[in-house]
Amino acid sequence: MISELLQEDPIVIALVERFDAAIEAGSLEHEQTILYVSAGSIVEVCTFLRDEHGFNRASSVTALDWYPQEPRFELVYLLHNVKDALRVRLKVRVSGENPAVDSVTSVWAGANWYEREVFDLFGVTFNGHPDLRRIMMPDDWEGHPLRKDFPIHGHKYDYGETNQ
């Protein structure tokens, strides 16, 4: 369901025309465009936005963990068109079971480290990523710290939580 506020946005119109059902929903929050894209077409949507609408950089790629809801993860792509100072936020919902999505490093080389960070801290796999390994945590670390079921003090110390 695309919000009425976005009905006249030229980028949203072009995206819906081109991808139709792959654009699942859209909303405008604090004058910022948010579009939900189906997981399968994120790379095509990003390529389209880069080539046709001048989104020449991905400001950041990050994720949200809606544990215990399902689909658990929401990947957030903060895209930016420098020339026209436009910003669009794409979101992809991913299930909590073996979360994986296609990598957008082929679209913007700079997505590399941001996807590695999401892989490291949320445990979401990016298919086709050239160098998918941990970036913040040590290589032998177990678990993914930014997940909501990861305790703030880590798994190393048990503060009586297991007895409850």
């Binding site: 604090h30 990050t62 100072a85 913040m136």
Partner: protein, 408 residues
């Protein structure tokens, strides 16, 4: 002297099976290398002195700030934002506060807005001074560091006057400022603005008349600008490549549209151009500060939002409501309506963005910091490749990264 210790008169040529073929060497630079300004490791693949490949490795300073934000109330996150980029702490304070104010929908009074602009520009000068000193130090111009530290000291005194802290200021709060201006605070800023501009000329004199500095910076570290943008590089480096992208102009925040200033750009896109851009930025910051000082409005320094802003101590002693609000804010925190926002500001290093998601409780559901250093360091590899080892030091210096900002 025994015979074995006497050096042989003639040196026999050592037979070398690899003679003629190229041998690559892998060199670990860091994590404790002085020119990495923190704990950054760069794995260099070398052919002689030429860098074939440079792979930066980060994460040594990861402290899980984003995770910690989720366990604190909205107000308690502010001291954490200081510690992200410890050279541009007020920029981080500002970006976070603007994001939360957008979510809450509160308006900040003009006095607070003007003060915020004035002090974030002072932060930009602070950060650029540290950059200039250390960058020149890496390149062998040691005296520069003493001069910039001398001026930075004056500037830190101003921070101390306003916030009580030299480095970890936490001066901006949701809805305004922590405190009103201190006595003689504005006079101190005025004095600084009189003192500082001639010093910029002095720095330029020192460096531009130095042939070594020019030889080591001109034509070094050139990368196509499209690649830089796609790689996530932002800030002065992009402006040194000819693109006048500055969030203060393109996506004005905190009243920057009321100020007159130029966005300095260069087209050479080398280390020297980045130096010129940052020097000019310091002059523009002085210009903005002078305007902020001149037009500094009187009046409230905090928004009229009793559910968000801590009440004045005096009111707590006389008004029941103030005491109740104080109790509520301190024990429960501020409830922020559900929603999300991505707030961008122009930090001294580039695009600083806070992506904050609220689920309606008094603690943020997620705070993602899009920090400029993280994106910039990602492009370090392509900037160093093909150059000499010594050039990679120049490239690193021109990036002006802070490792706390990278690893969070």
């Amino acid at each position: 002297m025994s015979e074995t210790l006497t050096p042989t008169a003639t040196l026999e040529p050592v037979p070398n099976s690899d003679a003629g073929s190229t041998r690559k060497m892998t060199l670990n630079m860091g994590p404790q290398h002085p020119s990495t300004h923190g704990v950054l490791r760069v794995v260099l693949e070398l052919d002689g002195e030429t860098v074939l490949k440079a792979v930066p490795e980060v994460g040594f300073l990861h402290t899980g700030i984003e995770k910690q934000c989720e366990t604190k109330t909205y107000q308690q996150v502010i001291p954490l934002t200081d510690r992200v980029d410890y050279l541009a702490n007020l920029s981080n304070n500002l970006c976070y506060c603007l994001a939360i104010e957008k979510l809450l929908g509160i308006e900040v009074p003009p006095r607070a807005v003007w003060t915020r602009v004035m002090l974030t520009e002072l932060t930009r000068i602070n950060s650029h001074l540290v950059w200039l000193g250390t960058h020149a130090l890496d390149m062998g111009a040691m005296s520069m560091f003493f001069y910039t530290t001398r001026e930075r000291e004056e500037l830190l005194k101003i921070f101390e006057m306003f916030s009580g802290q030299r480095l970890m200021t936490s001066y901006f709060r949701i809805g305004g400022l922590a405190l009103d201006h201190p006595r003689a605070g504005l006079e101190a800023v005025e004095k600084f603005l009189e003192m500082f501009p001639p010093k910029i000329d002095e720095y330029e004199n020192l460096l531009d008349n130095n042939p070594i500095w020019k030889n080591r910076t001109i034509g070094v570290g050139v990368v196509p600008v499209d690649k830089m943008l796609a790689m996530g590089i932002t800030g002065p480096m992009i402006r040194a490549a000819g693109i006048p992208w500055d969030a203060r102009k393109d996506e004005p925040y905190s009243g920057y549209q009321n100020f007159e200033f130029d966005v300095p750009t260069r087209t050479e896109n080398d280390v020297y151009a980045r130096y010129r851009v940052r020097m000019e930025e310091m002059r523009q910051s002085v210009r903005i500060m002078a305007q902020a000082l001149e037009g500094m409005p009187e009046g409230a320094y905090q928004a009229d939002a009793p559910k968000v802003v801590l009440p004045q101590r005096e009111k707590m002693k006389t008004q029941m409501e103030a005491l109740i609000y104080h109790f509520k804010i301190v024990t429960e925190g501020v409830r922020v309506p559900p929603g999300e926002v991505y707030q961008v500001i122009e930090s001294p290093r580039g695009e600083l963005g806070y992506y904050v998601v609220s689920d309606g409780t008094s603690k943020p559901f997620r705070v993602h910091m899009r920090t400029p250093s993280f994106g910039n360091i990602q492009g370090l590899g392509m900037m160093c490749e093909g150059g000499m080892i010594a050039d990679s030091i120049a490239c690193m210096g021109s990036m002006d990264f802070v490792l706390g900002d990278t690893d969070r």
